[in-house]
């Protein structure tokens, strides 16, 4: 069949039965909008539940006191909040340097085959089940030291964190025009200094976005913490001991048969979800509004045109 015949056939098809085709189109539109609604309803329900239950329990004492006896409804979850922030700090101390350096290696040093290989494995590792990292940290650190400790948790979470940072750093560095590098080399600046002082400065926005996203991801992780930091009822007493974190508290409390304990779980969920939403919203604000665009385009515009 020649091209013109095919075109004629399509045109005839599209000219016929216009009414029923418009009806189909409308129905599909309604179905598609229903899809969006179905996806948004759970989010709304989760937020409403967490806020409704959480607000009832949250008080100054809840946020600043140690937990009382299980199910008594006394005390608070201050040690879990402390634990979550300590975990974020320790994980970042391990994960951020490795992630950023790995991203630098792939974007600036590796030849294309090695770079592709490492990027591929970073992508694959990002999707590993988080519980596997928990098992690994348990075998590698907890069994060796003979006790549950914070470093094991930090190592497990940093394994989740560093591939995310490595990928975002790499993407951010790739958006910087080569003229930046060439200008640096033309001045006789060594490559390491060009990378650290010029490229990292220019790619700062992208890297910060990646770090914040990865922090938001690890702050809610539960499974690896069950087998590494275990949970406790006291304040932080050094990195060699067990500690509590918000997700662990929620998990433990939700399985208890007391209503008060479950209410504490909802309160902890509200604190956790507030931390995560603030992180996500600020990433969004950072990417969208400060840079006048969206996604990588926004990043690109900031790098090239933002430094007027």
């Amino acid at each position: 069949m020649s091209d013109s015949e095919r075109r004629l056939e399509f045109r005839n098809y599209f000219q016929d039965n216009l009414g029923s085709r418009m009806v189909t189109d409308k129905i599909v539109k309604i179905i598609v909008i229903a899809c969006v609604a179905i996806a948004i309803i759970p989010l709304g329900s989760i937020l409403v539940d967490v806020v409704r239950m959480g607000v009832e329990i949250i008080s100054f004492e809840f946020l600043t006191a140690l937990p009382g006896a299980a199910g008594s409804g006394e005390g608070g979850i201050a040690n879990s909040i402390q634990g979550t922030f300590i975990m974020i700090g320790m994980t970042s101390a391990i994960g951020i340097p490795i992630g950023v350096l790995s991203g630098i290696y792939v974007a600036e040093y590796a030849n294309s085959r090695v770079g592709k290989l490492i990027r591929f494995f970073n992508d694959v590792m990002m999707q590993f089940p988080s519980i596997v990292f928990g098992i690994f940290a348990f075998l590698f650190i907890v069994l060796v030291l003979g006790k549950f400790n914070l470093w094991a948790g930090a190592v497990a979470l940093s394994l989740i964190m560093f591939p995310i940072i490595a990928r975002t750093t790499e993407e951010a560095l790739k958006l910087i025009p080569d003229t930046y590098r060439e200008a640096g080399h033309a001045l006789g600046i060594p490559k390491a200094v060009v990378t650290v002082k010029i490229l990292l400065t220019a790619a700062k926005g992208g890297i910060v976005t990646g770090v914040m996203l990865s922090v938001a991801r690890i702050a809610g992780e539960t499974a690896p913490l069950i087998m590494t930091i275990l949970g406790s009822k006291g304040w932080f007493r050094g990195t060699e001991t067990a500690m509590d974190a918000l997700p662990l508290t929620i998990w433990r409390l939700s399985l208890l048969p007391y209503d008060e304990a479950v209410m504490f779980g909802w309160g902890a969920a509200l604190v956790l979800i507030t931390i995560l939403l603030v992180l996500n919203m600020s990433v969004r604000y950072f990417v969208l509004h400060r840079k006048g665009g969206s996604g990588s385009l926004g990043m690109f515009m900031r790098i090239t045109g933002g430094k007027k």
């Binding site: 189109d25 539109k29 969006v36 996806a39 989010l43 989760i46 591929f120």
Partner: protein, 324 residues
């Protein structure tokens, strides 16, 4: 002159140190993957030695000392069944969302809607579990599971068990909600990557929006959408907390998934539940590590497939309106 040379030499020194450090950081991911596999294999070696391949195909789960017997099949099946049900629910919805965001929605509301959908991904697994356990389970049981059981329970064996709320279907539906953001975000990117000329050609011939999507966008984006779905499958396979709280945590032969309303178990959730109970010197412990190793292999296989498909799609290919 000599000072210049000295400066150059010193800089070169630092330069190579930096390069070596960066190379080490880049190689770290390869090292850690090998290390994880090695560690898991060596610590589960006892169970492979005792049970052999029967560990993968067996269905007993008896940690009592002296009578130990372990089989992973019910949990492998539980993982795959819950993930596949979740996928069947999530893929049509996600493609609908992606179609709305790329074809139908006015530009003004695209960003807010995709932001809201991505927020679903920001909610941690444990909070889905909490919500599922105290809110969704009850609503779902009263409004869907019980009526379905009453209507179909006698005729179709899938609906035979009396629904309790903590079962395979509840876990799968919550899992579906959790993977929707992943699949719809990737699908949206793939649909947006379809060249505008594809759509324009179909519009020019007088096609409606749905016909444009069906005849010129979908054939072009098909394999990419399959890749996105497999990526979602990989996500679902590794999800732990929400599934653990909702699946019912059966063990042994009765954990094998035969019906929607039956209590089951998945690889990740049995590990999360029983890990701290197992003593590292018994055979129970290597059995759980062995489950972790199987989970790692399942997830690795699925993810490698997904990445290869997505990569093949994003490298160009030919388009054209295909037949209707």
């Amino acid at each position: 002159m000599s000072r210049d040379l000295l400066a150059k030499k010193r800089n070169f020194h630092w330069d190579s140190i930096f390069k070596i450090t960066a190379t080490c950081a880049g190689a770290f991911v390869l090292l850690i993957i090998v290390l994880i596999f090695g560690q898991l294999l060596s610590d589960s070696w006892l169970i492979w030695e005792k049970e052999g391949l029967a560990f993968v195909t067996g269905d007993r789960w008896n940690p009592v000392e002296g009578r130990e017997s372990f089989g992973a099949l019910p949990y492998i099946a539980g993982t795959l069944v819950t993930s596949l049900i979740a996928l069947c629910i999530a893929v049509p919805l996600s493609i609908g969302i992606a179609m709305f965001l790329s074809e139908i929605a006015p530009t003004r509301i695209r960003e807010p809607i995709s932001f809201v959908v991505e927020l679903l991904a920001a909610v941690p697994s444990i909070i889905y579990g909490l919500w599922g356990l105290f809110t969704f389970r009850i609503v779902f049981k009263d409004w869907f599971e019980s009526p379905t059981h009453e209507a179909l329970g006698e005729h179709i064996f899938l609906f035979r068990d009396a629904p309790f709320g903590l079962d395979i279907l509840t876990a799968s539906v919550v899992l579906a909600i959790m993977i929707i953001p992943t699949i719809s975000a990737v699908s949206r990117e793939i649909l947006l990557a379809v060249p505008a000329i594809q759509r324009e050609a179909a519009y020019m011939l007088g096609a409606t929006k749905w016909e444009v999507f069906r005849m010129s966008v979908l054939p072009y984006a098909k394999s990419g959408l399959i890749g996105a779905s497999i990526l979602g499958l990989g996500r679902a396979v590794g999800e732990t907390m929400a599934v653990t709280m909702l699946i019912g945590n059966a063990v042994g032969p009765k954990a094998f998934p035969f019906g929607f309303f039956q209590q089951g178990n998945s690889l990740a959730s049995i590990i999360a539940n029983e890990f701290n109970e197992a003593s590292p010197v018994s055979l129970y412990f290597p059995a759980l590590i062995g489950l972790g190793l199987i989970l790692l292999f399942v997830s690795l296989g699925i993810n490698v497939c997904a990445h290869l498909i997505i990569r093949r799609v994003t490298n160009a290919h030919e388009g054209g309106i295909k037949g209707f």
